[in-house]
């Protein structure tokens, strides 16, 4: 008798049937991976920071104590203090709202405008599809970050405008994915089956196409949330958001960059951005798998 655990092989398919993969329900216990649990915890914490900053950070984010400038991270100041003696942790927490909520605004614009464009283009087809298609081509042709910079420079340098600009640059991606999903679902047999069962176009669109298309758009929204946080941080870094004493995360990095001897001024906000975006992306990955 020999037992062999066969390494390295390729096809997981056994059933020689026309059933698509996943047709047989896997009897699996739902266990949440540690990384996912941590990511969700981070997201929850960040939302709490954004909504109730004073609960989490008691020190003044705007007025510092000059005598305490450039203190390295320690028990009193978790992330140290800056050149004016302000607590960096407190500044990060108070900057959460504009750094993260503006990303939500951006994604919201992308989902709504892009989603509707893609839905209409995919469902109506014909010249509507052509017009939307060219519009999306234009939006795709301009690099997202450059587009955001141009829009924010036309609207004025404020964080909310940066959010709108980021949203505009995300419209194309959402429109494309939504259109592709709608086209895919529209061709599905069950959609034709619904028409045969007497369903009107509107019924088919709302009851069959949308519920089947929304999942990938949802996963994309969460992914795009991470991207938007990065883009908005980039805009703030270049000074296109609210001016100091606002404490958008990107702005914190930009001002910290001038003090190479106090590396925590860059590393603390940078680490927060990385952890938050990592967590958001982890959640998105999970949504895409399901």
């Amino acid at each position: 008798m020999t037992t062999t655990v066969l390494p390295e092989a390729h096809s997981p398919h056994d059933a020689p049937n026309v059933a698509p993969p996943g047709a047989r329900r896997p009897a699996r216990v739902r266990r949440v991976p540690v990384s996912l649990a941590l990511s969700v915890a981070v997201v929850v914490l960040v939302v709490a920071w954004a909504l109730l900053p004073d609960v989490f950070a008691h020190q003044d984010p705007v007025t510092g104590v000059p005598a305490q400038k450039f203190l390295p991270p320690g028990a009193a100041h978790w992330f140290g203090t800056d050149h004016l003696g302000r607590d960096v942790y407190s500044r990060i927490v108070h900057g959460t709202a504009s750094s993260v909520l503006s990303a939500l605004v951006a994604v919201g614009i992308g989902v709504v405008v892009g989603g509707v464009l893609g839905l209409v283009a995919g469902f109506v087809g014909g010249w509507v599809d052509a017009v939307v298609g060219r519009t999306v081509d234009v939006l795709l042709a301009v690099p997202g970050f450059l587009l955001a910079v141009v829009v924010v420079s036309a609207l004025g340098f404020q964080t909310i405008n940066a959010a709108v600009a980021t949203g505009v640059s995300a419209v194309a991606v959402f429109a494309r994915v939504m259109r592709a999903e709608v086209l895919k679902v529209r061709r599905a047999t069950f959609v034709e089956a619904s028409t045969l069962a007497g369903g009107s176009s509107l019924h088919v669109l709302v009851r069959h196409v949308l519920p089947n298309a929304y999942r990938s758009v949802l996963a994309l929204s969460v992914l795009q949330l991470g991207v938007s946080i990065l883009v908005i941080a980039g805009l703030a870094f270049l000074g296109y958001g609210d001016p100091p004493p606002a404490s958008d995360w990107g702005l914190l990095v930009a001002s910290g960059k001038n003090y190479p001897l106090a590396p925590w001024l860059v590393l603390a906000p940078a680490a927060v951005i990385v952890v938050v975006v990592l967590s958001v992306n982890r959640v998105s990955r999970r949504l895409r798998q399901a």
Partner: protein, 562 residues
């Protein structure tokens, strides 16, 4: 076993090529194959039969050591004298191709789409000791010709998408026999092909076997085909061998309950099986046709070429009877059905429903028509919205046509589920949580719930196992007897058509080449195409006592490939 030894050269003198003993295979903790044993000798075909999930492909892959990552195998597999499970991957690799070749199920996905046939064949030719590339090329061309490909040079230079399914399967067989293996493992080698092509591919395998002395392990779900082509059978269910023995014995005198059921459910073995059930219908003699197609034409343009999907297609179905549309892929069956349902507009011709010509129908009229004309799709895995519950799926037609009150609709849904033999406990489930057979019953309940006059059944059992198929067919015939339904039954399975249909139209390339009563057409086919289709039904099924696999002379016997 030393690494340097040439594993391919010393095939032992015993005729036994493959011996599997106590083979247990599992994914993760769960074993899916239990204690399987079988042998294959030189020149012998052994068929491993089972329905989906029986573990037959897992056995094949364990023998070939192609199991997916994380799978384990226990027991012993002796391949031409080598302990196949005990060898290292590097050692076993030397047996691949040279000792054991593999012919897979789906020819379309089994060749790399971005490389030419020649480049992939060269990999197989490298296993032979040929001096250079030119010699390998010559051998490849020789073998491509050997498997009956007319223009080997062109095939050699082609990409997979440029060849038909039948040609690709020939290429795959050529690639498998090219390095001169002793054993071929063929996993459903013809399931993806049309019946007449299927026939020719199996003939080719048999002929190669005879001239090369190959042993073949044939994996299939088709008992009739296995009985015709194999010397011995092993019937597998839930990963266990239920019965094994000489083909005729297993087919004609099955010892196990499961083999008996399996045999009873193969349509071509029992043409009269449902006659009693069908006799319960009360048919009015000379009733007017319920549906009729008259001279329907339809041509599709793809790129620069016209594809004639329907040309002068006419047929009529009397109320309460079943009419079958028979043909292979591309014969125009589906187009005819879609025209009838108003999903496709004919270029010419008429569609009559209930004696009324429905030439220029308005949208509302088409919608009203659909209430009385329902469709059951071929694949229940794609025809049910995965996000909906069974209850909502079955109720959708009632909701859309605003039939009855809320309570009446609920009642109708429950009744429809009873009709198709589904428990009401399933109402809250989504399609993923149902088996293939249950899904198809849901699809039938959905078609039935409006109490239509006509139900179009587009290959309703093709995606299902034969035992599940038998249950579905029974339900359909019971419903017909109870509700006086008219069926248009599209199928490529002549055995099944013979069991369920009253009349039949045979389609070939968009034309009706023969039509009439099922009994007449089957016993005395007039058109050569009908005869070819009938000939492709496994012979063991038609004349069980004379079952022998034939060696046709259509390919002159060439030099055996060493």
């Amino acid at each position: 076993m030393s690494e340097t030894e040439d594993l391919s050269a010393d095939v032992p003198a015993t005729p036994e090529l493959l011996r599997v003993d106590g083979l247990t295979v599992g994914y993760g903790r769960e074993p899916v194959v239990h204690d399987v044993g079988l042998t294959v000798s030189r020149g012998e075909t052994v068929a491993l039969i089972g329905e989906s999930g029986s573990g037959k492909s897992t056995v094949a892959r364990a023998v070939l050591r192609l199991l997916p990552r994380g799978a384990w195998a226990q027991g012993s597999v002796t391949l031409a004298g080598h302990d196949a499970l005990g060898l290292s991957e590097a050692q076993f690799r030397r047996l691949r191709g040279r000792v054991v070749g593999f012919v897979p199920q789906d020819p379309a996905s089994s060749l790399n789409p971005v490389r030419t046939i020649g480049a992939q064949a060269d990999e197989a030719a490298r296993l032979l000791d040929l001096p250079d590339r030119a010699a390998r090329r010559a051998r490849v061309l020789e073998v491509l010709a050997r498997v009956g490909l007319d223009d080997p040079e062109r095939v050699h230079a082609s990409y997979p998408h440029q060849l038909s399914g039948g040609m690709l399967q020939r290429v795959l067989i050529a690639l498998a026999v090219l390095p001169g293996p002793d054993l071929l493992v063929a996993d459903e080698p013809t399931s993806a092909l049309d019946v007449t092509v299927q026939q020719r591919i199996l003939d080719l395998l048999a002929e190669l076997q005879d001239s090369l002395g190959l042993g073949i392990l044939l994996i299939t779900h088709d008992l009739a085909l296995a009985a015709e082509r194999a010397d011995r059978l092993a019937v597998l269910r839930d990963g266990r061998v239920q019965e094994s023995g000489p083909s005729r014995q297993v087919l004609l005198e099955p010892a196990s309950e499961y083999a008996r059921t399996l045999g009873a459910d193969v349509p071509s073995l029992h043409p009269d099986r449902f006659d009693a059930l069908r006799a319960r219908r009360s048919l009015a003699p000379g009733a007017a046709p319920q549906i009729e197609l008259r001279g329907v034409d339809r041509t599709f343009r793809t790129g620069d070429t016209d594809v004639v999907a329907a040309s002068g297609v006419s047929f009529a179905v009397a109320r309460g009877t079943t009419h079958a549309l028979v043909g292979e892929s591309g014969s125009g069956k589906t187009t005819a059905v879609r025209i009838l349902l108003g999903l496709e507009t004919p270029d010419a011709g008429e569609v009559l429903v209930g004696g009324e010509a429905l030439g220029r129908r308005s949208r509302a009229q088409v919608r009203a028509l659909r209430r009385h004309l329902q469709l059951v799709y071929q694949n229940p895995f794609t025809s049910l919205d995965p996000t909906w519950s069974v209850e909502r799926l079955v109720r959708e037609p009632l909701d859309r046509f605003r039939v009855g009150t809320k309570a009446e609709r609920a009642e109708a849904v429950a009744r429809a589920l009873d009709d198709v033999g589904l428990s009401r406990d399933l109402l809250g489930r989504r399609p993923v949580a149902l088996s293939g057979g249950q899904r198809q019953r849901v699809a039938i309940a959905r078609a039935l719930v409006l109490r239509p006059d006509v139900i179009v059944l587009d290959e309703p059992t093709t995606a299902l196992d034969v035992t599940v198929q038998a249950g579905i067919v029974r339900v359909l015939l019971e419903l017909q007897a109870r509700h006086g339904l008219t069926y248009l039954f599209v199928s490529h399975d002549l055995g099944l058509v013979r069991q369920v249909a009253d009349t039949v139209s045979v389609l070939e390339r968009g034309r009706v080449v023969e039509h009439g009563h099922v009994a007449d057409v089957f016993t005395d086919p007039q058109h050569p195409y009908t005869r070819a289709l009938l000939a492709a039904v496994p012979r063991a099924a038609q004349h069980p006592t004379t079952a022998q696999h034939p060696v046709p002379a259509q390919h002159p016997t060439l030099e055996p490939v060493p």
